[in-house]
Chain length 299, copies 2
DNA sequence: TCATATCTCTGACCGTAGTCAGCGATTCGT
DNA sequence: ACGAATCGCTGACTACGGTCAGAGATATGA
């Protein structure tokens, strides 16, 4: 993919950031975390929780080759930092458990990571520290926005249910009179499955952080419901991504437009709908909790 | 050094940033720049300018072992990307010059770095891109602030002269009536040397980015002059760092306080002096360009 | 019970990044 | 003119991070 529409100055600043930040943090990691143990061994030690962890779990989490991990664990065992024993449930599986020294070493690693972070803040004034932490947060969130995926999912799955629960809880908190899903239209999530509809989940690092559903009505307007985004990832454009994916789904099902309704207390959602090209229309249904209705034509 | 005064939440956010950013950028580097050539070879190729560059210069710039660099250059030569020949001036020295293919490869590397940067911005809305670029700039500057050094220097050195010229030029630009160093007190920089005074230069990556001088008057107040910070590094706390270093120098020379004078048009300097504990006092000299005089007791 | 799958471990590899000592050619300082 | 320094190159070596092909032990499903 090419991104020729982006301006030179922005590209240059991003490149300068990449260079400066990786160099700075890399140098500090050498200084604070380097030497003693190899990076690979440290990462593994970090995964060995006090209550023990199966080797296969470490392998999956760090995406390591089984042979490589085996050797890393051996070297940690030789250093007296972890103990390895066959798992009680399945004796093919081996379980790693930190020794006393291993626990101490983990505390030490943690302390050094803290020191590394502190060394970045130390030369700054309190006001600058605040600005740096703020800018880091913003940069991190927007960089991670690129890792968000939006994919179809079963509306009855655990993740989907967790999203919907969080959505209902938020509405209950924000609507002046609370919220009862049974009073809302389409309480049955089975409708959000082909052929009558589709349910999408947004994920970041595998964690469900947002959802949305669309119902198809042939060439009549498709109908968007249950759009939710986790508070943790506000301002990362997740809502927009879900909305675009739902519209694309509607387009693929030959809908000429999409409709949705919402409530005045969801101000940021309404702003997003307007920014995305939705136009307010007269009420087209009797959704109990709605007071604004929108429609957007699909090319 | 320990930094126990820093709060848990800030430390955690810095650590999260370090983790997220290095992982994200590292993964993208593998994707966009990885494979084809090793990182070392790419870095070397990048240093081989079209007009040729001495091997020793590459070695100094990248801080590479001479044997290691020799091998990297050999592999680039084998690939037909650079040509090596004895330097005209000194036949011990070898000069590397890119071939046609090498130039093309550099353009390609550059293009891929651009694409990497663009891929970070691509999934964002225009508003978010602006915020990301802004946050990256702030984070980068404040991270680099930790790399600024402030050290004594000869006021007659090239770097010192460059700083003073930049300082005078800035005053000429900002003072309503311009600025002529000859009309100002202490035009002779020879005073800014032991035993009568000291001159300090602030540097970032070796480049002089700020300066300041202090004159000692026994147990009488020491006197600060010629404080300047490059526009490029405003808001990085360089002024504060220089000021603290000058005060420390005065303290070591048994001064009980420091004085300085300034001009109302240098608003950010005045704000910094006040924030640093300087108190406005009646005029104590007849500096032509001054309209505010300050003093600060040293413990 | 038996074939198949799963899990860990070992041995044999590879490329990258780097360090160190020493050599031959050249240049510099006196 | 000569000794010392400089420059680059080569050979020998190390550690890290990783891949791949099995082997052996164990578990699982038909």
């Amino acid at each position: 993919m090419t991104h020729e529409q982006l301006d030179r100055a922005s590209i240059d600043r991003v490149r300068a950031f990449n260079r400066a930040v990786t160099a700075r943090i890399g140098a500090l990691e050498d200084e604070y975390l380097g030497s003693a143990r190899s990076l690979g061994a440290s990462r593994v030690l970090w995964e060995v929780r006090d209550d023990g962890v199966d080797v296969r779990e470490i392998r999956e989490r760090l995406e390591l080759d089984s042979g490589y991990l085996s050797r890393l664990l051996r070297s940690l065992e030789r250093e007296g930092l972890v103990g390895l024993e066959a798992s009680a449930a399945d004796s093919r599986v081996r379980t790693a458990r930190p020794t006393e020294a291993g626990r101490a070493e983990r505390v030490e690693l943690d302390r050094r990571s803290d020191e590394l972070a502190a060394s970045l803040l130390a030369p700054l004034s309190p006001r600058q520290r605040e600005r740096l932490v703020e800018a880091m947060g913003t940069a991190m969130r927007l960089l991670e926005a690129g890792l968000v995926t939006v994919d179809p999912a079963d509306a009855a799955s655990d993740d989907a249910r967790a999203c919907l629960s969080a959505y209902y809880a938020e509405l209950a908190r924000r609507f002046p009179g609370g919220f009862d899903p049974a009073q809302s239209l389409h309480p049955d999530t089975r409708e959000f499955a082909e052929p009558s509809g589709r349910f999408l989940i947004a994920r970041l690092h595998g964690r469900a952080i947002g959802c949305g559903a669309v119902l198809f009505h042939g060439s009549e307007p498709a109908y968007i419901k249950r759009m939710w985004v986790d508070d943790d990832v506000r301002d990362m454009g997740v809502g927009r991504r879900i909305l675009e994916a739902l519209e694309q789904t509607a387009r693929e099902h030959r809908a000429a437009s999409v409709t949705l309704e919402t409530n005045a207390s969801l101000t940021e959602a309404i702003a997003m709908y307007r920014a995305a090209g939705y136009i307010e229309v007269p009420p087209f249904n009797d959704e109990f909790y709605a007071d604004h209705w929108f429609e957007k034509p699909l090319d």
